[in-house]
């Protein structure tokens, strides 16, 4: 079963007087439980693609379905609700709320979901233990390393069992060793918890972790291989 379906998705941006085509008609299906990399050089449209799948941005034309819901038909509030319950995000940087501790950052999404406090705390601790952060519950983002921050972000993204986790160049700001550690952890979570991961990268080493590699060039799918 496919958790994400994109059919002929197009998106253009206006940059001053020039119209830039970010996506020129992308069709893509992603299976449940996948560990998929969107790979391509800078400016190829990876971020645009992830933003559209995540309902942060809207396509100009085409059809996007996530976990059975067609995004084009939803209003802002429905999209917010979809993100809250079905999609986890990991961005390149500044993923965390600076005034909250690691534990509270993870709890925050569950707070928005209305999970009762005791359960929230319990689940947040468990997931932080899973990503190897049992000693950093009470640290604020500024007191953590870049790698630790990204781990908290992943923990927050997966804590309420979303349909998909979208990670936009999650390792771009990390050194290669830390980056590998993060990817290994993501893969472990993918296998253990059956969470679907879609992540973008332009780094060869990162691509090697993917079980499926979708190559993006100039806003089009240029290759799609299963490893």
């Amino acid at each position: 079963m496919n958790i994400v379906e994109c059919a002929d998705v197009k998106k253009t941006y206006q940059q001053g007087k020039i119209v830039v085509t970010a996506l020129g008609g992308v069709s893509l299906s992603i299976e449940k439980g996948g560990f998929v990399a969107l790979a391509g050089p800078s400016g190829s449209g990876k971020t645009t693609m992830l933003n559209i799948i995540g309902g942060l941005d809207s396509a100009d034309s085409g059809r996007v379905t996530v976990n059975g819901s067609t995004l084009g038909k939803m209003n802002q509030s429905e999209l917010a609700s979809l993100r809250l319950h079905n999609i986890g995000f990991v961005f390149q940087a500044y993923n965390l709320i600076p005034v909250l501790s690691a534990l509270e950052n993870v709890e925050f999404v569950m707070l928005l979901q209305g999970v009762p406090p005791a359960e929230r705390r319990e689940r947040a601790k468990n997931i932080l233990d899973d990503v190897g952060l049992e000693d950093t519950y009470n640290r604020r983002p500024a007191e953590m390393s870049g790698g630790q921050q990204q781990r908290v972000a992943v923990a927050r993204a997966i804590v309420s069992d979303p349909a998909i986790v979208l990670a936009d160049e999650p390792t771009a700001n990390l050194d290669s060793k830390t980056g590998q550690g993060l990817l290994e952890m993501m893969k472990e979570m993918n296998e253990k918890k059956k969470v679907t991961f879609i992540f973008s990268t332009h780094d060869k080493m990162v691509m090697d972790y993917a079980r499926r590699l979708v190559l993006i060039r100039d806003g089009l799918v240029a290759g799609d291989e299963i490893r």
Binding site: F91, I97, L100
Partner: protein, 407 residues
Amino acid sequence: MHFQLAWRNIWRNPKRTVVIMTAIIIGVWSMIFLGALMRGISDGMVRNGIATLTGHIQVHHKGYRNDPVVENSMIDPEVVKTAMERVLPAGAQWASRVRVNAVANNARHTAGVTFVGIDPAREARISFIGKAVTEGRYLRDDDKYGIVAGKALVDKFETKLGRKIIMMSQDTDREIASRAFRIVGIFEAEMQSTEKQFIFVTKTAAQHMLKLENGISEISIILPDQEGVKQVADNLRAAVPSADYEVQTWRELLPLITAYLAIYDGFMYIWFIVVFIAMGFGIVNTTLMAVFERIREFGLFKALGMKPRWIIKEVLAESFFILLIGTAIGNVLSFLSVFALSGNGIDLSALASGLEFAGMSRIIYPAIYSHDVIVANLVVFILGLLVSVYPAVKAARFTPVEALTHT
């Protein structure tokens, strides 16, 4: 956790938070403290007006107020006394007086004065004169020729204790009555005009001089509770023959002060609004700054699935805390300031002649009215939250993509 988030956010930039809190503290302090001073001034005016022979309620013979001549006296005040016994609440005090315009003169000077014949013991309980004598003594029931005059008049007449003053006025036969009195006491009052205006003798001496027999000019009443004045006046009015008597409250007897009070009320609220406008700009400005510094974070909130309504609540919660702390400290400081001045008041004797013109007392005792305090706090709180809605809505409007790409 929402409140925790808001609370921690306001301390991310402690300097800015302290600055805006200080503005709120000063604003609230100035509203409440200066408000209390203004109330103190108006309270002083009312107290003074009531003590300067007005009382809370007065009864006159019909026509006396328009033409205070001896013919308009109450010849047989018994009916009023019986009515008062029936309607006045326990603890009420009253005194009757003879009060006519007269001319005072001695060898060198002449002045128009208000000549008041009083019942010394009763009068002392309802007006200022009982405690106002600073030289010599107060009147006694058996003072046939004793007179108590104000210090300003005595100075003007270049006379002193023990000397004579001749009083002249029209008696009931429309003849000029005149009689010599001896100064037994000199009084001082809040205002020089009071010292120059009133001359006191015993009621019997005045009645004798004016051939009034038992007649009196007015009855002045002080109630234990100022709130009930109107009701009691209405009851009394209903209890005396309306063809012969007039009953009035101090508000009717002191129209100028009543008008002042109304103006003060309006002025107070204008003052509140002016202070708030200055403060409101500060609040909007600070909140906007705090919001624009965190565009990225609001993008993150949205990406996480936070609805715009929640973001508005979060920003308003931050303003709420700042307002709460600011108003709390502002209230405490203003109460402390008022408390510090409640003992001795603010002595403005140096400016006495100027103040007197405005009918103000020499010493202001700030008076906190709970009503003013509530209004001041509500103005700051409700308007403070209202003006924060604008930055809050701005924060909620950032689209996630533009916010997340914002650096």
